[in-house]
């Protein structure tokens, strides 16, 4: 009798666990409701003609994590945009593609994308929805074509069903693929770091962190503007161009000599996780970055005026700035169940 009760209790427990686990990963309307964090400006991407829905978001997430998007089905968006690395490429200076090919730029972290007016290090992409076409078709990344992806998805029973659920009709088009991806990446919002809570009066900073913030505001914030920690501009930050890459950055987009070797000012949120740093991933540590910034003698020609205003940073100053930068790690975002690989759930 006692054994029987134990077995029944155990079964009830397992069922309950399974039920809550299922519910844990369930995406609800509330999960896909756009909430603009306190103090954030109006976003550039407003999900216009792309109404947020749990079904489309879930489809976008599946596509993001599925290597079916690459030519030989080996690489997904998440291969290079890894959650453990704040959706950058963990410990990789340059992006990797299919067949072991190497790209020419560092994978940027993904967060607060709807507040960017352009995408990529050179700002060549003008709308979040069309950004994925780049990695998808780049020969050293996924080396695929939109037509072929559509064909593969049409032949895949799971996707045939998912598109039907998401869009209420079976058509699989590039527009739907891209809009679903934009729902998933557009909702990646990081605004709950210790810094955010400190600003909101809900957390405290150590003396070092406080000093770091003060120094940051004096020396870094003219480009890395709060609360997004970027002003969305392009600047030459003094790095001498790597002759093996000869990457002209913004200049290759506008064709203006004035823009050569300028790159988009990246956000610094979650920077603890997104190393290595700079557009070509040449620095492994935040300290390396600050060492560069405080050595104006080593700057390349045409370095931005703001860079010279940083001046010499003392070692304790660097330590404090780094202490502050580590407060930008947002575990609420990095461990958000909505962004976890659906194939692992």
């Amino acid at each position: 009798m006692r054994n029987k009760t134990t077995v029944i209790l155990l079964l009830v427990c397992i069922a309950l666990l399974a039920f809550t686990a299922n519910n844990y990963f369930l995406i609800t309307q509330n999960d896909v409701t756009l909430k603009i964090p306190k103090g954030f400006p109006k976003p550039y991407y407003k999900f216009k003609n792309n109404t947020l829905s749990p079904e489309v978001f879930v489809l976008g997430r599946k596509l993001f994590y599925d290597p079916i998007l690459s030519k030989d089905s080996t690489i997904s968006c998440a291969s290079c945009h890894q959650r453990i690395a704040a959706f950058a490429h963990f410990d990789h200076p340059l992006s990797h593609g299919i067949n072991g090919l190497i790209g020419k730029r560092n994978v940027p972290a993904l967060q607060n994308l709807i507040w960017q007016d352009t995408y990529m290090w050179d700002g060549g992409v003008n709308n979040l929805e069309v950004q994925p076409i780049n990695p998808l078709t780049n020969p050293v990344e996924m080396n695929e074509s939109l037509e072929h992806v559509i064909e593969k998805l049409r032949l895949n029973e799971m996707y045939a069903a998912e598109f039907k659920i998401a869009f209420n009709d079976t058509a699989i088009t590039s527009e739907r693929i891209l809009k679903a991806l934009a729902q998933f990446t557009g909702l990646m919002i990081s605004a709950d770091s210790r810094y955010d809570r400190y600003i909101d009066g809900k957390d405290t900073f150590s003396t070092s962190e406080k000093n770091g913030l003060a120094l940051f505001r004096k020396k870094c914030a003219s480009c890395h503007e709060e609360p997004l920690f970027t002003d969305n501009s392009y600047r030459n930050n003094g790095l001498k161009p790597d002759p093996s890459l000869n990457d002209k950055g913004r200049g290759a987009i506008t064709g203006l000599e004035f823009d050569e070797y300028k790159f988009k000012v990246p956000s610094l949120r979650n920077i603890e996780r997104s190393y290595p740093y700079m557009h070509d991933g040449r620095f492994r540590k935040l300290k390396d970055v600050l060492d560069h910034y405080s050595s104006p003698g080593n700057f390349a020609p045409n370095t931005a005026r703001e860079m010279y205003e940083i001046g010499k940073l003392s070692e304790p100053d660097k330590k404090d700035i780094i202490a502050f930068l580590l407060t930008l790690t947002d575990n609420t975002f990095l461990y958000d169940r909505r962004f976890i690989d659906p194939f692992m759930q």
């Binding site: 060549g124 069309v130 076409i133 780049n134 088009t173 590039s174 527009e175 693929i177 891209l178 064709g255």
Partner: protein, 246 residues
């Protein structure tokens, strides 16, 4: 009592029905055919050798372009559309487009852009003619390719003697959107009774001349903003009115 109710109901039904069918004025339909030529010869791919102004021979292997914002001009009230069309020599069905719901009247000319306006270059994922699967889209520097002309010329120094002009760009100073404005010799009369047919001549040879004569031995590839506006200034005048059937 019952009769009154029935009468009122049937009158209301009749009124509603009338309001759906009754149009203030009649509307007609126009088809526009884009007839591709190289000077006075009908364009043929691959096999036929043509000559540019400099006497350089060439063949054509690809010819496609975007047309949009069509406006039919009338002294009182133009007919404007916001649709885009991808005209592709390879797909004959795309070479004739149709514009409906044109108010009756006498139209004196047509205006449209060759290209895609800046709003549609910044609108993200789109479908139909503007679907990026049509291979008329630059991903790395977002924007539509407005016109693709590809072919071969023995003088070209590109691999395989090919030449390729992929022209796009909606931002200054590399804006390649061109407005084409054509007047009709005699008015085009739109009425509800018949579908009118407008034939436009599209002269591929014009892409290689006026104002700039293109030397295929020195310029065989334009695939970004370099030299793009030169070609755009050339393609601007490749259209003319061939005939109007009414």
């Amino acid at each position: 009592m019952k009769i009154i109710v029935t009468t009122i109901l049937s009158m209301a039904t009749l009124l509603v029905a009338m309001s759906f069918t009754g149009k203030p004025t009649g509307e007609g339909k126009l088809t526009i055919a884009f007839d591709h030529y190289v000077d006075d010869k009908v364009l043929q791919f691959d096999s036929v050798l043509y000559k540019n102004e400099l006497g350089q021979s060439f063949t054509v292997t690809k010819f496609k372009y975007y047309i949009g914002n069509i406006c039919l001009k009338k002294t009182t009230g133009n007919k404007e559309t916001t649709d885009y069309y991808l005209i592709n020599e390879e797909e004959p069905a795309t070479k004739t487009i149709s514009v409906g719901n044109i108010p009756e009247g006498e139209y004196t000319g047509i205006e449209f852009i060759l290209g895609v306006d800046s709003i549609h270059n910044c609108s993200g994922a789109q479908s139909g003619a503007l679907d990026p699967v049509n291979a008329m889209f630059w991903a790395w520097n977002t924007g539509y390719i407005f016109l693709k002309l590809e072919g071969k010329s023995p003088v070209s120094k590109s691999p395989g003697n090919i030449f390729e002009f992929h022209i796009g760009g909606y931002k200054q100073p590399n804006n390649c959107i061109r407005t084409v404005s054509l007047n009709f010799e005699r008015p085009l009369i739109i009425s509800t009774s018949a579908i009118r047919e407008l034939h436009l001549k599209v002269n591929v040879a014009e892409i290689l001349k006026t104002p700039t004569s293109i030397d295929l031995s020195t310029l065989s590839s334009v695939t970004d903003f370099h030299n793009a506006t030169t070609i755009a200034d050339n393609y601007m005048d490749m259209f003319s009115v061939l005939s109007i059937k009414q």
